[in-house]
Assembly symmetry: C3
Homo-oligomer: 196 residues x 3
């Protein structure tokens, strides 16, 4: 583990080989796996869970209730959320609600190998499927299926991508790496080995 | 008042009970009220005014000319602005304009109890009304009415919310807390006590 | 040159008169010109090139492969990118691709005097033309022409602006500074001196 002298790492649950850069803060109670790259200014709150080989680019904010699986890429400035109707918790009108996390905290899950593009915002209570690709600047308001490409505000489905992140054409062929997929029910499965 | 050792608080006008977290900066000349929560990496510029019990989540930027009233919630990564046609002030072509703040600075006001969702951008010269709810990722280009819900880029009206932030149905009933409202002219007023 | 004690400036190529504010980081191998203003929390990566009199407002991220010409204004929270189909580089499936920058890095260019509004995201491989105006919150997915105004997600053309950033009317007249332009082929050229 390598922690920049200007970073704050208070967690005892950070895996081997993970690097934490300047002005980042991993709170006590946060879990971060091995071989991760935690960029400058990133914030990982107590209660957040990050897998192995995950990349969190600069300024990403991962709150309590957010789980990010192995190999995910979270682009610069991506913002997760965990409260679908936030108010300032010290306002008398809502103070009671905020006494108990179960009253307001909604979990978010990013599955294995997914990409969240730069500056995207992910609303609470959602799942971004394995190897999905959320375009830069998207505002994610619904679940994203595995290998699905979504873009826009609100984010809308735009197609499907390969595990390598290349766009799949109508024949489910990836022009970037040569992999071919087929539908098995609602799931894409690789058809033969990829030609990396 | 509680200031993280890695924060910079240069203002003498920060109220009792306010906490300022790491890598945040409250400039001399900024005013921040009591019982606020100023998140990591937040920037409050000289000339900005923040009320009591306000929550500024991580990385919020509050510039000169921005006023945020009591009990407001400003989500992570929200960006305010104060110049509607910015150029680099040291460019000879516009240097003269930037000598005098009155030439370019346009004020912004967030009223009592309003919520600005994560990653929203608020253009200059606007007012976000009391208890309004700006959805995450919205780009606010027009005034937002009290208790109005707006979303999208540009942000468009999508309905009305309760003081508790719950959505109001067509009967102006809040399913979250049981409050009922009625229109008094163009203003929503509570009809009987809320059932918190 | 003036570097805040809480900033990290490792580059030997920063011009005279440039100020670098707290929690900003200019990496060794980054080039920054003279009389720039590098705001709080800004990140300028090795391989990035920034011209003279450029303003990078707080939290701007400028990656390897991004070039910003003289007099440009980059608003708060603007995010550049340099990889059009990112995955986490330590994921075995894509590790090979990330061994060589030429496999994934795509350059971005912001031309002289351009403005990128607050919170905008600029996709990789694009050029933002001289004195263009990218509206706050825009997601730029195509080249922007000189003096062109673009807005939205994805960003769409909305008109033309003066070098001073004022909107041009249909007669190509700037009501802000009195300048008049005409079309010379596909390019706007000033017609007579501006009345600053």
């Amino acid at each position: 583990m390598q922690v920049h002298p200007q970073a704050l790492c208070e967690s005892e649950h950070v895996g081997q080989g993970t690097r934490i850069w300047a002005f980042a803060h991993v709170m006590r109670g946060a879990v971060v796996g091995a071989d991760c790259n935690i960029g400058e200014g990133v914030f990982v709150e107590a209660g957040a869970v990050v897998g192995d080989r995950v990349t969190l680019k600069n300024q990403v904010m991962v709150w309590d209730g957010v789980t990010i699986a192995d190999d995910a890429f979270v682009g610069p400035g991506v913002i997760f959320t965990n409260d679908s109707r936030p108010r300032s918790p010290r306002m008398p009108r809502v103070r009671e609600r905020y006494r108990e996390p179960a009253n307001w905290r909604r979990p978010t899950r990013v599955e294995r190998g997914a990409t969240i593009g730069a500056g995207a915002v992910v609303l609470p209570g959602l799942t971004v499927g394995a190897f999905a690709l959320v375009a830069a600047g998207a505002v994610v308001t619904r679940d994203v299926k595995p290998q699905q490409l979504v873009a826009g505000n609100p984010a809308r489905p735009r197609g499907w991508v390969c595990e390598c992140a290349g766009r799949l054409n109508e024949e489910l062929f990836c022009q970037e790496c040569g992999a071919v997929y087929r539908w098995a029910g609602e799931q894409l499965v690789p058809q033969g080995p990829p030609h990396v």
